[in-house]
C-alpha cells in the first residue's frame, strides 16, 4: 500500500507538472495566434510563407525536444553530473542540433519553394534564405536556454520530461516567429 501511495503521489505530481507547463505554453501560443492574425497581411507578402510556417515552427520543437530529452535521460541515469559542466557529450549534442537545424531549414525552404511553384505557380527563392537565416538566429538563442532550463528543472526536483516538451515548443514558437519576422523585414 505504501508503494501504491508513492505511485499515486508521483502520478499526481506528474499531472500537475504537465498541466502547469501546458497551460503556460497554451497561453503564450494563443497570444501568438492572436498576433499572427494581426500580421497575416505582412507575412503573406512572401508567397508560400504559410507552407513554410508550420514546418519551421515544428522544427524548433523537434530539435530542442530531442536535445532536452537526451539531456534528461543523461541526468536521470547519471551519465552527466547534476551541476552544469561543458563536456564532450554537451559539445556533441549542441553541434548535432545546430547542424541538423541548418540541414532541415534548407530542406524546408526548398520544399516550400518547390511546392508553391508546382501548386500555385509562385516562384520566390527568397523563402529558402529566410528559412535558413531565421533558424540560425533562433537556434543561437534557443539552444543555451534549453540546456539551462533542463538543468534548472532537474536540480529543483522536477522531471524535465514533463515540462521541457511544452517549454521548448513555446520557446520555439515565440523566438522562431520573432526571428522569422526580423529576417523577413531585413531581407525582403
Amino acid at each position: 500500500m505504501r508503494v501504491l501511495g508513492k505511485t499515486k503521489k508521483r502520478i499526481d505530481k506528474d499531472i500537475v507538472e504537465e498541466l502547469s507547463a501546458d497551460l503556460v505554453a497554451l497561453t503564450v501560443g494563443l497570444v501568438g495566434g492572436f498576433f499572427l492574425v494581426q500580421i497575416t497581411g505582412d507575412i503573406s507578402l512572401i508567397p508560400g510563407i504559410l507552407v513554410l510556417l508550420p514546418g519551421y515552427l515544428e522544427m524548433h520543437g523537434n530539435l530542442l525536444g530531442s536535445l532536452a530529452g537526451r539531456l534528461s535521460v543523461a541526468l536521470h541515469t547519471r551519465k552527466i553530473p547534476r551541476r552544469f559542466a561543458w563536456n564532450r557529450m554537451m559539445h556533441d549534442n549542441v553541434a548535432a542540433t545546430f547542424f541538423l537545424g541548418v540541414v532541415v531549414a534548407l530542406v524546408l525552404g526548398i520544399i516550400a519553394y518547390i511546392l508553391t511553384l508546382l501548386v500555385f505557380g509562385w516562384a520566390r527563392p527568397a523563402i529558402i534564405a529566410v528559412a535558413l537565416a531565421a533558424l540560425v538566429i533562433s537556434l543561437i538563442v534557443e539552444i543555451p536556454l534549453t540546456i539551462i532550463a533542463t538543468y534548472v528543472i532537474f536540480q529543483r526536483g522536477y522531471d524535465p520530461d514533463d515540462i521541457m516538451g511544452p517549454y521548448v515548443t513555446t520557446l520555439g514558437d515565440f523566438i522562431g516567429i520573432f526571428a522569422l519576422l526580423i529576417t523577413f523585414w531585413v531581407m525582403v
Binding site: T7, I11, G33, L57, E58, V103, V107, P160
Partner: protein
C-alpha cells in the same frame, strides 16, 4: 527522420495555404491553430520522453510492467489533454471577441466539438505511435527520442490541419 517529418509538415502547410481565406473566417480556430499544433506536439514529446526515460531506468521491462506504465501515462496525459483543450477553446473564443468576432451559442458549441474531436483523435494516434514504435526503436538499440519526437510532432501538425479543414467543411459547410 527529421527530413521526413519536414516533408510531412510542409504538406500540412500546403493545406493551410489552400484554406487560408476560409480559416480567417473562423477566427477562433485560426487563433487556436498554432497553440493546438504546439499542444499536440507537446503531448508527443512528453509521451516519447517519458517512455524513453522509463526504458533507460528499467532495461527490458516485462510486458505487464510496460502495460502498467502505459496505463498510468495514458491516464495522466488524458486528464491533462482534457483540461488543456477546454482552456484553449475558452481563451481563443475570448481573444476572438477582441477582433469583434460575432460569437453565437451554436458557434461556441461547434467550436468545442471540433476542437475536442481533433485533439482526442490525434491524442490516441500519437499515444499508440509513441508506445508501439518507442518499444520497436528501443529493441533495435535506437534512441526513441531521436526517432519519434520528430515523427509524432509532424503527425500532430499534419493531422491537426487536415482534421480541422475537414471538420470545418462538415460543420460550417465552408
Amino acid at each position: 527522420m527529421l527530413l521526413a517529418a519536414s516533408l510531412i509538415t510542409s504538406i500540412g502547410g500546403l493545406s493551410l495555404q489552400f484554406v487560408q481565406d476560409s480559416l480567417m473566417f473562423f477566427l477562433p480556430l485560426f487563433i487556436m491553430l498554432p497553440a493546438m499544433n504546439a499542444m499536440m506536439g507537446d503531448f508527443g514529446i512528453v509521451m516519447v520522453s517519458k517512455f524513453t526515460t522509463y526504458l533507460s531506468e528499467h532495461p527490458r521491462p516485462a510486458l505487464q510492467k510496460r502495460r502498467r506504465f502505459a496505463h498510468h501515462l495514458f491516464r495522466d496525459m488524458f486528464v491533462v489533454a482534457l483540461l488543456s483543450t477546454a482552456y484553449m477553446v475558452m481563451l481563443s473564443l475570448l481573444l476572438s471577441a477582441f477582433h469583434d468576432f460575432p460569437l453565437t451559442s451554436l458557434f461556441v458549441f461547434q467550436t468545442f466539438v471540433i476542437t475536442f474531436l481533433v485533439v482526442f483523435t490525434l491524442f490516441l494516434i500519437i499515444f499508440m505511435i509513441a508506445m508501439t514504435f518507442g518499444w520497436y526503436a528501443y529493441k533495435r538499440k535506437k534512441d526513441p527520442d531521436d526517432m519519434l519526437i520528430p515523427l509524432t510532432t509532424s503527425i500532430a501538425d499534419l493531422g491537426t490541419m487536415i482534421m480541422l479543414a475537414l471538420l470545418i467543411r462538415f460543420f460550417f459547410g465552408a
